[in-house]
Symmetry: D2
Subunit: 335 residues, 4 copies
Amino acid sequence: MLKIGVLGCGRIGVMHAANIAAHGRAALAGLYDVNGAAADALGAKLGAKVFNTAEAMITSPDVDTVLIATSTATHSDYIEAAIAAGKAVLCEKPIDLDLQRVNLCQSRIKDTKLPVMIGFVRRFDAGHRAARQAMLDGEIGTLHQVVITSRDPGMAPDAYMQVSGGIFRDMTIHDFDLARYMLGEEVETVTATGSRLVNPTLMARLGDYDSVVVTMTTSSGKQAVIINSRQALYGYDQRLELFGDKGMVISENRRAHNMTRHLAGGTNTAAPLLDFFIERYADAFNAEIGSFVDAVEGKAAVEVGFDDGRLALVLAEAAMKSVAEARTVRVSEIG
Amino acid sequence: MLKIGVLGCGRIGVMHAANIAAHGRAALAGLYDVNGAAADALGAKLGAKVFNTAEAMITSPDVDTVLIATSTATHSDYIEAAIAAGKAVLCEKPIDLDLQRVNLCQSRIKDTKLPVMIGFVRRFDAGHRAARQAMLDGEIGTLHQVVITSRDPGMAPDAYMQVSGGIFRDMTIHDFDLARYMLGEEVETVTATGSRLVNPTLMARLGDYDSVVVTMTTSSGKQAVIINSRQALYGYDQRLELFGDKGMVISENRRAHNMTRHLAGGTNTAAPLLDFFIERYADAFNAEIGSFVDAVEGKAAVEVGFDDGRLALVLAEAAMKSVAEARTVRVSEIG
Amino acid sequence: MLKIGVLGCGRIGVMHAANIAAHGRAALAGLYDVNGAAADALGAKLGAKVFNTAEAMITSPDVDTVLIATSTATHSDYIEAAIAAGKAVLCEKPIDLDLQRVNLCQSRIKDTKLPVMIGFVRRFDAGHRAARQAMLDGEIGTLHQVVITSRDPGMAPDAYMQVSGGIFRDMTIHDFDLARYMLGEEVETVTATGSRLVNPTLMARLGDYDSVVVTMTTSSGKQAVIINSRQALYGYDQRLELFGDKGMVISENRRAHNMTRHLAGGTNTAAPLLDFFIERYADAFNAEIGSFVDAVEGKAAVEVGFDDGRLALVLAEAAMKSVAEARTVRVSEIG
Amino acid sequence: MLKIGVLGCGRIGVMHAANIAAHGRAALAGLYDVNGAAADALGAKLGAKVFNTAEAMITSPDVDTVLIATSTATHSDYIEAAIAAGKAVLCEKPIDLDLQRVNLCQSRIKDTKLPVMIGFVRRFDAGHRAARQAMLDGEIGTLHQVVITSRDPGMAPDAYMQVSGGIFRDMTIHDFDLARYMLGEEVETVTATGSRLVNPTLMARLGDYDSVVVTMTTSSGKQAVIINSRQALYGYDQRLELFGDKGMVISENRRAHNMTRHLAGGTNTAAPLLDFFIERYADAFNAEIGSFVDAVEGKAAVEVGFDDGRLALVLAEAAMKSVAEARTVRVSEIG
């Protein structure tokens, strides 16, 4: 049993803590949140010890490893603290909104042998993985194009949008990582367009976009397309298409069940899409914990390393620059 | 070009005549209808000769073969007249509602070498044929179960229902033939239940049923299930399932196109089913003409012979007896 | 927390025990199996107390309620013992293969107010429930026809087949209950056919069937069709169709994910069906525990009562009689 | 009956001629091809007059209107000749590979009131039209994103590739027009990437690409994405997605029938995609003739005008410039 302490008891932290508590190979060793009441409530429910400070939890002998699910600005500090305490880390994405801070963190932990894993959960989705596995098995031949459609069911509250870091670093970042995972070779160019269609007023005020399309190419010419919107009224739209010279695989949206209606007003009407990420990626979040346990126990390499987290952010910066300058940006132009 | 004369210019006759006129290997050689105005209108539109009597058309040297699309009660007479005139026949189903009349007709034409084909159009549906072909190719191994779902979009007018001959001889007869076509060996037992659910009052008055389930078995134990309803508000429901010891094939409902809606109120909502048989089996009706031309030209055997028409009626009678006596009826009990 | 003791640590018992241990409102209070090693292993894994006798567990003050997952022949005895000990019961299906024993058990516990629930898990499947709810909400109008397709992925070992009680009592019994749940009114007639197609030799030796079709009708004429096979090489085929005078709902098969292949050899090829019942009904088994907890806590009525278990067996006997006598059997003929 | 003469008896011309000959409101008034034998063969088959020169056909009093299906380089000349002869024109795409030639043609025919229609057949596809109609009916609210996936089943012969004008003017041009049709407002910016993945050697030699992604934006910020490949081994991949602030509609690929296989090796395997454009857009090509007849008869406006043909070419040039300069190109930069 790997004893994992969870920093942060917000929506994501609560889910991770419950997954860990129920996990066959992990135990929930402790909780901390800046909001003590939130940590206490979760601790009472799950029967887990609550620490008064992050430091106390990180350094506690009862805690083998640390899962960081706090606000983004604290991620790097906690990663550094955990590594300093000799603890492996599973950190929610993004590492930081500021690439310089990420680079600094990387340099500070560069000598560690401890697993540092970033929580890009979509890599662990059963459908996405099955698509990738089919590709690795040669079923679609050589990969040519990756198409990722990723639309949130609705815009987050204004308060969140203001600190989100912008759509590329907040939302597309998942797709940047997923694209990299599928492409299997590094991205060389990024070309992006951004539009303000869902909430033009807010987006203009923030200098942000709510609808973006990103095209990326690799050294061998493989293409990846990401299509994002902050609001899809039909639900959380999460699709992945891998196209190669021998065929195509598609990881389609998922529903809670396969009940369809056939009525005078419409045939084949299906159940709503699983909505939102907690539901859609429930199994994936759980598999992510298993992958982390494997890495810590030395049974497998870290599936999503620190540099994966950093490179997704680099692509986000490249996309921002591409939109601003209305041109294709080479990744080598960014840090 | 095979010169085909069409007897009967009702809804089905009009469709057949247009198919023949546009067919690459057939020509519309003449028309007749007891309602002269209907024949005249169709003849004017399609540029075809209109005859004053059925006899005149059947015996005309301009007519090579006869397609019979008149009311059921006249089918046997016209078959006999066409054969007597040395003309091959394509006759709409059913041959007659009265099995004795069918048997008489069969005895009268028993010496002919001329093709006599019965219009069980579903055999020519591309999806149903592809399912059968997959079975013949061994893809599903040995056939075990056939499941046919066949529901009309709505009840026909009362006037029609009164002369329809009852659901088994009027509607299920298509499914009896389709089941035989798929089973590939003769049916031995028929077990049926009938309910009055769509229009109980009318059905009780007519001694008929609007919702029936029929189970049939063959000598080797293969099972066929037919599920019928006179009214499906979502459209014309036409499905076929072949289940064998190595797998299953399904011929699903068809739509005019594959546009789907993904809205807040429902995802994956598809276009309506093709509705009604003229639309659903448009390609099949056309293929049926081609099959008839092949048979007359000696390029292929008759795909649906007179005895197929007779045996479907035998199964209908067996089903009626099964419902009446609440027991499994052996086909050998019927004529 | 409802403290549940589990009798029987075979495949089903192991699953139930794990579900209970992880359940938010239940606790695993004890285990017993005639094979002590099996119980010990499970107890060690889940941290649960293991009892030396069923009696000890049933009467233990640490155990609030009893889940019975032992071999069928012991079900009635344990139900009676639990009720005698004042404990509510959740018993796996069937209650017994012998209707007389079931009737005796019913008479013996007839005065109890304690919940006795039978584990017909399919009632708790999300898709099947959503279909039923749509019906209850009036979406399909008045129900006319229920079609249940239920095929196992493969034949059980011969040893099991010999004590299974026959297909109707062993396999179809789930569908009898599901049909009753959907019909919403009692079945009046049962008409069945049975074939020996998968393993004719074994079936003939056992006097059993491996492929059956059952048609049932209710007092108002509603029809239910059950199509069973002991072996579907493409996986565990579990479908439910509810057809009414305003439309139809279908609960389709489920897959682990929605990845599809589009290759030269075939398009739209989907992932395999969830296979077998432990996987297909994993959520349903969990929901079943929740429903039992609700019943015990008085928050809801027992969803599947003892009489539901008894009536499914009555339908099984009626089907056996129908096959044997090649006729429609009225349920009132059975006890 | 509108008398239509067909210039060009290659694959497309043959199809158009057959459609016209069978059309209820059009008649095939003549044929011409530079390859006289091809014209003669088609004329014999369809019973149509064959002309010795294009001029003779264009000016014949038997010919009301002209359908141009010759090689691209001749399109503008024939358009001008037909207009000079007072005949309406339906011209296959593209008008010309050279935008200057197109502009010249436009200036030469600018005073005509005669319908000049360009054959962008995808506008007439039932699924694509249903998607657009749903949008026009407000079902998806305000349009935000258009996603067009368009992949050919295989690379054309090298000889064709050398004179194709490049992927943007030859293949993507259909998608440029379809995007414009769906966007409902003019495109302002074009951003494209091109890769050489299918046949890198040939593409490099021709300075062409076989895999492209194009993103376009309109004045209001609507985004359109086009994903192309010259080779999809699973068939002719033609999909359209319209995403708006109230929902999404998708026009999916089409198959000849809906037979699916469920075998041990794969479930839900569907029939191949309709392949190639002659089959996939058979109904659309026919509807296009109807639309042309409507325009000539004054019953409806020309659905795809000369300027639509020109603007698609402008977008192709913008895309070429975007790839060459690795930047977003404003449409106003092109002629």
